[in-house]
């Protein structure tokens, strides 16, 4: 899977209240949530983001609440991938589980600026910056997580596992 998109750049500790403020959590539809994505830290984001764009951020992206509404809002807003120096663990799990590609790559995060165009090859774990021409390699996902991604998220992965288990037991 290959992604080419314009970069939205944010700093460290972007929390889940910044990604989707709690006042919108009385709803859970992806499209409704997307309308308020990043609203409190970047009010222009929602109107200008294009399908396929990429979020690049610093340390501890997605810290705070367990709300899956956060990666759901990012994905539904059209963002194709998040690249950060590091992630809060619940956000990381949630993104994998719902099928939002996310990569951890400190060098790429440091050297990328807002408005750059990144080309990302997810299978190879390669990120190329169109402005500087530099290519960065990320460490591959562990096999278990790769299997979840390949299945299309945790729910389809679990369905497969459950039928395999009951077949094995029967």
């Amino acid at each position: 899977m290959r992604i080419t998109g314009k970069v939205w750049k944010y700093g460290d500790n972007v929390d889940t209240d910044a990604i989707i403020p709690a006042r919108y959590l009385n709803m859970s539809g992806a499209a409704e949530l997307a309308c308020h994505c990043m609203e409190d830290i970047d009010p222009g984001f929602v109107t200008a983001v294009q399908p396929g764009d990429v979020i690049v951020a610093g340390e501890n992206f997605g810290c705070g609440s367990s709300r899956e509404h956060a990666p759901v809002a990012i994905k539904a807003a059209g963002v194709a991938c998040v690249v950060a120096k590091s992630y809060a663990r619940i956000f990381y799990r949630n993104a994998i589980n719902i099928g939002l590609p996310i990569l951890e790559c400190p060098d790429a995060a440091d050297e990328t600026e807002a408005g750059d165009v990144l080309t990302i090859d997810l299978a190879a774990g390669a990120i190329t910056n169109g402005r500087t021409g530099r290519t960065y390699r990320t460490s591959p996902f562990p096999p278990f997580i790769m299997a979840v991604i390949e299945a299309g998220g945790l729910v389809p992965y679990t369905r497969k596992r459950m039928s395999a288990r009951s077949a094995g037991a029967g």
Partner: protein
């Protein structure tokens, strides 16, 4: 090489067909896990609330199983926007209630017979030592105060856990915190944890388990321990664990709904770091906007006028917290420029506070006392801030916009500093108010 508490609890919950367990028992050893292992474990309790359950229920339906793995071990709590603040919240709660009934969950919580999940579950004896508990709420880590490995996850993880009774985990590294020395007056669990997060930062324990230990911790009440474990996530932690001692056993007696299993860290457990903290030097703390790591002594806050003081939440909504607040507010008055909002964590806490006369003190002082709810903690209802307003709050997060308008500010503190500030009209200390 020995094991930490988290490693022991996880190892005891490995599934039979887990690869780590299988390879070890092939070698004739007992199940054994180390930091970094990806493992699958069984869970003892699965939790979701009125915000996270609706998505979990949708995802559960996609799994194509008929029922939850065990109707006695799935708990849904309406607490964030309840009593329903608007039509959308009412519909989320209805979806949750319908699911609970259809699945015949044995413990069904409802407004009027519930409270904030992380105060409620331990109070009702649903948490016992040695449990693995997963909740679709980041503050699920609160239960580590009772020696359970408890961690927050998202709705999809919880849907799978509700269906299978299993989750996948990466075995975390552990940081050990050793607290020694003598606690200063007015210093409680909240001050210790704010100070600790100030030391290591909001990412300081990312992906890790925090073990809270040392002589100063042994003197802490269960309420103080719940407060500290609650905020492990504010340092990025996966779990925050306390050893189970007589204080914990006394809390569990007559309350626990299942037998527990006590796991102790080995003497030679491998820690990624050991942080020594002398509590004698810690003053009552306040964390400035917009991160919990911006902790400093309340005495050095400077002149910070406040518009609102909130005392409650899963962090500090227990009876011990309300007693501290009532001690200061009793016979005094909330400053005319301040709205003081007090929220008991559960119906039981509310009733205890009523019987002890605390509610009377609060109302006479000019405070509002609300039914149990998360309410203002997440800017939901019952005390949302306008642009430019400032609150001091005993909650756990002061992110931008957390309690309302993106240009409002939240200062985190324990109940003593929050009550003192409500009286003074600016961030203050109990000593200053009592003087």
């Amino acid at each position: 090489m020995g094991h930490t508490m988290a490693e022991k609890i996880i190892a005891a919950h490995l599934l039979d067909d887990d690869e780590a367990a299988a390879s070890r028992s092939a070698q004739g050893g007992a199940p054994d896990v180390w930091p970094g292992d990806l493992v699958e474990v069984s869970v003892d309790l699965v939790l979701a609330n009125d915000i996270t359950a609706p998505i979990a229920i949708q995802e559960f339906a996609k799994l194509g199983v008929g029922g939850v793995f065990d109707p006695g071990r799935v708990v849904l709590v309406p607490d964030h926007f309840t009593p329903n603040k608007d039509i959308k919240s009412a519909e989320q709660c209805r979806a949750m209630r319908q699911f609970a009934r259809a699945q015949e969950l044995t413990t069904q919580f409802e407004v009027g017979r519930a409270g904030i999940e992380h105060v409620l579950l331990p109070e009702r004896g649903l948490v016992v030592p040695g449990d693995v508990i997963v909740g679709a709420d980041s503050h699920t880590c609160t239960y580590g105060a009772l020696g359970a490995f408890a961690t927050g996850m998202g709705s999809t993880d919880i849907a799978v856990a509700m269906a299978t009774g299993h989750v996948w985990l990466r075995v975390p590294d552990t940081i050990r915190f050793v607290y020694s020395g003598q606690l200063q007056p007015w210093v409680g669990g909240k001050d210790l944890i704010l100070y600790t997060i100030g030391r290591i930062g909001v990412g300081g324990a990312r992906y890790m388990s925090m073990e809270f230990s040392g002589p100063a911790v042994r003197d802490l009440s269960m309420a103080a321990r719940f407060t500290m474990a609650n905020m492990a996530i504010e340092a990025g932690g996966k779990a925050g664990l306390f050893a189970v001692d007589e204080t914990a056993q006394a809390y569990l007696a007559g309350r626990a709904t299942r037998p527990g299993q006590v796991y102790e860290a080995d003497e030679d457990a491998r820690y990624s770091e050991v942080v020594e903290i002398d509590v004698s030097a810690i003053e009552p703390q306040v964390a400035f906007p917009h991160l919990p790591e911006n902790a400093r002594p309340a005495s050095s806050a400077g002149d910070v006028q406040i518009d609102q003081a909130v005392i409650g939440s899963c962090t500090n909504g227990r009876i011990e917290d309300l007693r501290v607040a009532a001690f200061l507010l009793g016979g005094r008055e909330v400053h005319p420029d301040v709205r003081c909002i007090i929220i008991p964590g559960t119906q039981q806490v509310y009733l205890d506070a009523l019987r002890e006369g605390l509610i009377e003190s609060f109302i006479e002082a000019g405070a509002v006392v609300s039914t149990p709810t998360c309410g203002p903690c997440l800017g939901g209802h019952m005390g949302v801030l306008a642009a430019g307003e400032r609150a001091i709050s005993t909650t756990n997060r002061n992110f931008r916009g957390r309690m309302g308008h993106p240009n409002s500010e939240v200062y985190l503190a324990g109940p003593a500093v929050a009550a003192a500030s409500a009286i003074a009209g600016h961030i203050s200390t109990p000593e200053a108010v009592l003087a």
